[in-house]
């Protein structure tokens, strides 16, 4: 296992630069999730680590060795692709063993490793099937099996769950978390889904427009977002932003309050608003309120609530959970 270091990594296609100087230290055995909106460059960073794209500028180290010029197979990485990318004409067994076969690993050792991976991923009865005879979840496990048998220093996952249906996604997420605990491998995982990021990651790297916005543990990002982008991206429903001037604050430009950090009362509170829509989810109730010049605010209440459209409510933010941002969008420490 190994750590991964990115130093001033840039990627340009012709004169068009998509990654603008990324510095990142991934510690040995960490599960790091790269998260960001589509087109932010998170997949490109993963492919740069894998060696599927050439690095335009900067240095990449895996296990202390500079790998800029090394082909993917020499970097000690294994990758799981979004579409699984199984070889359609090969059996599950051949799919898993292809890399070992190319590396001229002795036959008995290949057989042993394939058997071990199949046992771990519950693929043993499927070894002689073709990929088209498998379900989506099974294909995903074959793709993971193909990665495991190479004993990589670093696992790379490119949105591995986005082709699965919702139920299977949660189940596979659990399996991935367990797999990471068992393998103790350094893992870099790309997703646009912040729930996946929050649930799987030791550390999250939030990326926007080819740059890192913030690096931190899930709770650091949730409790102390460094800027407006991270504050708005992490957390669902999204954080409420209010222009500070409109509520008489002068110490900052924007204040942010998460929907779950607003108390609701029928009698009194700091702000007043009319419910324009209510979402009853059972465990939670999301209220969308029109608060006049403060704009549209979202409130998340726990449990079942009787509020409905048209109700006039008073809102009070939990004071020590209010985030303040300056004119550049940077968080002001509190």
């Amino acid at each position: 296992m190994a750590n991964v270091q990115l130093r001033g990594i840039r990627k340009a296609y012709g004169s068009f630069e998509t990654i603008h100087g990324v510095d990142l230290d991934i510690v040995d055995r960490d599960f790091v999730v790269l998260v960001g909106p589509s087109g932010c460059g998170k997949s490109t960073i993963l492919r740069l680590i894998a060696g599927l794209e050439d690095i335009t500028a900067g240095d990449m180290f895996i296990d202390g060795k500079r790998v800029n010029a090394d082909p993917p197979s020499k970097r000690g990485i294994a990758m799981v692709f979004q579409s699984y990318a199984l070889y359609p004409h090969m059996s599950v067994r051949d799919n898993i063993s292809f890399g070992l076969d190319l590396a001229k690993v002795p036959k008995e050792r290949i057989a042993a490793k394939v058997a071990e991976a199949a046992r771990q991923l519950e693929l043993t009865p499927l070894l002689d099937r073709l990929p088209r005879q498998l379900s989506g979840g099974q294909r995903q496990r074959v793709a993971i099996g193909r990665a495991i048998v190479r004993d990589p220093k670093v696992f790379l996952f490119d949105e591995p769950l986005s082709n699965l249906d919702a139920g299977l996604r949660v189940q596979t997420r659990l399996e991935l978390a367990k797999l990471h605990r068992d393998m103790k491998a350094t893992t870099v995982y790309v997703t646009h889904d912040q729930v996946e990021a929050m649930t799987l990651a030791d550390r999250i790297v939030v990326i926007n427009a080819g740059q890192i916005e913030q690096i931190g543990t899930p709770m650091e990002l949730y409790n102390r977002p460094a800027n407006l982008f991270v504050a708005g991206f992490i957390g669902s429903p999204r954080m409420n932003f209010i222009e500070a001037a409109r509520i008489g604050e002068t110490s900052c430009a924007t204040i942010g309050v998460r929907p779950e950090h607003i108390n609701v009362s029928a009698e009194s509170g700091r702000w007043q608003g009319t419910v324009i829509h209510a979402e009853h989810l059972g465990a939670d109730t999301n209220l969308y309120l029109d608060c006049g010049d403060k704009g549209l605010l979202t409130v998340r209440l726990f449990g079942e609530q009787r509020y409905g459209t048209g109700d006039v409510l008073h809102l009070s933010p939990v004071e020590d959970a209010v985030h303040r941002f300056n004119a550049e969008g940077r968080a002001i420490g509190r």
Partner: protein, 275 residues
């Protein structure tokens, strides 16, 4: 219109199309089975069939040698076309480089020139390379029209293969040649069979180059040999033998198509099923 009339018209059309497609071949077969004396009486049934014509072309002419030449030329052309075609298709379909579109268009434009236009130039090339009057001359020149479409069709298929499969192979440590041989070739097999068969048929039926670049009857391929079949006198055109020869050389093609029929159908529907 009542349903029975519709069905009747449909089958009438089917019969008409079959007649149109098959009658020339049928007439060739029965002509080849008739004795020379009966040739010029119109008759739609063989009457008393005879194999004299078939025996004749093998006994009195070197037709077996000609068939061998044709097999050699067509086989070599097919293999070379597929070998060069699939490697070129990998480069053209997968690797980004400057002038790729221009190169593809150039390859296509090569096949736009009529054979006659390039004949004299090809003749010079063939003579300089010392291939004149050898099967090599035909193999070399037939590539002129088999390669462009092989490259084009295979490039389209290579472009259709998911890029992630190739990248997975790269991560697994496969070199470009291993990717082509162990990942792409099995996936391209239906396309290879279809293009290979078309290349084979094209080379098998090629006439002009084969006529121009050979002088000995022992070096001729089948289409030229058939054109040179002569009768007892210079006024005698032996239709029976010509037809017998034609039928003989069409059979291998039919057999090939029948053998690869399943693969061809698989090739036509290959893109429809998501792997």
């Amino acid at each position: 219109m009542p349903k029975s009339v519709k069905t009747g018209l449909f089958w009438l059309l089917v019969v008409a199309i079959c007649l149109y497609a098959l009658f020339p071949f049928y007439y060739a077969i029965i002509t080849s089975l008739r004795p020379p004396a009966d040739i010029f009486t119109v008759n739609y049934f063989p009457g008393k069939p005879t194999t004299d014509n078939y025996v004749g072309i093998f006994k009195e002419q070197n037709f077996a040698v000609n068939i061998f030449n044709s097999l050699l030329v067509s086989g070599a052309v097919t293999l070379i076309s597929l070998g060069l075609g699939v490697t070129a298709a990998y480069a053209l379909g997968r690797i980004q480089f400057a002038g790729r579109g221009l190169l593809l268009t150039t390859i296509l434009s090569v096949s736009m020139f009529p054979q006659v236009a390039v004949l004299s130039g090809m003749y010079e090339l063939v003579r300089v390379m010392g291939l004149y009057n050898t099967p090599g001359a035909m193999i070399f020149s037939d590539l002129l029209f088999t390669l462009p479409f092989t490259v084009w069709v295979l490039t389209t298929f290579v472009k259709g293969l998911p890029k992630e499969i190739e990248e997975a192979a790269i991560v697994d440590g496969a070199t470009p040649l291993i990717i082509i041989r162990r990942v792409f070739l099995p996936l391209l097999a239906p396309a290879m069979v279809t293009t290979g068969l078309l290349a084979f048929i094209g080379a098998w039926n090629e006439f002009l180059f084969a006529l121009t670049f050979t002088i000995d009857s022992n070096e001729r391929t089948v289409p030229v040999a058939i054109a040179f079949i002569s009768g007892a006198t210079k006024y005698d055109l032996p239709w029976g033998r010509i037809m017998a020869a034609s039928v003989t050389v069409t059979l291998p093609l039919i057999v090939l198509v029948l053998i690869f029929q399943r693969k061809i159908v698989a090739g036509l529907t290959a893109g429809a099923v998501k792997g």
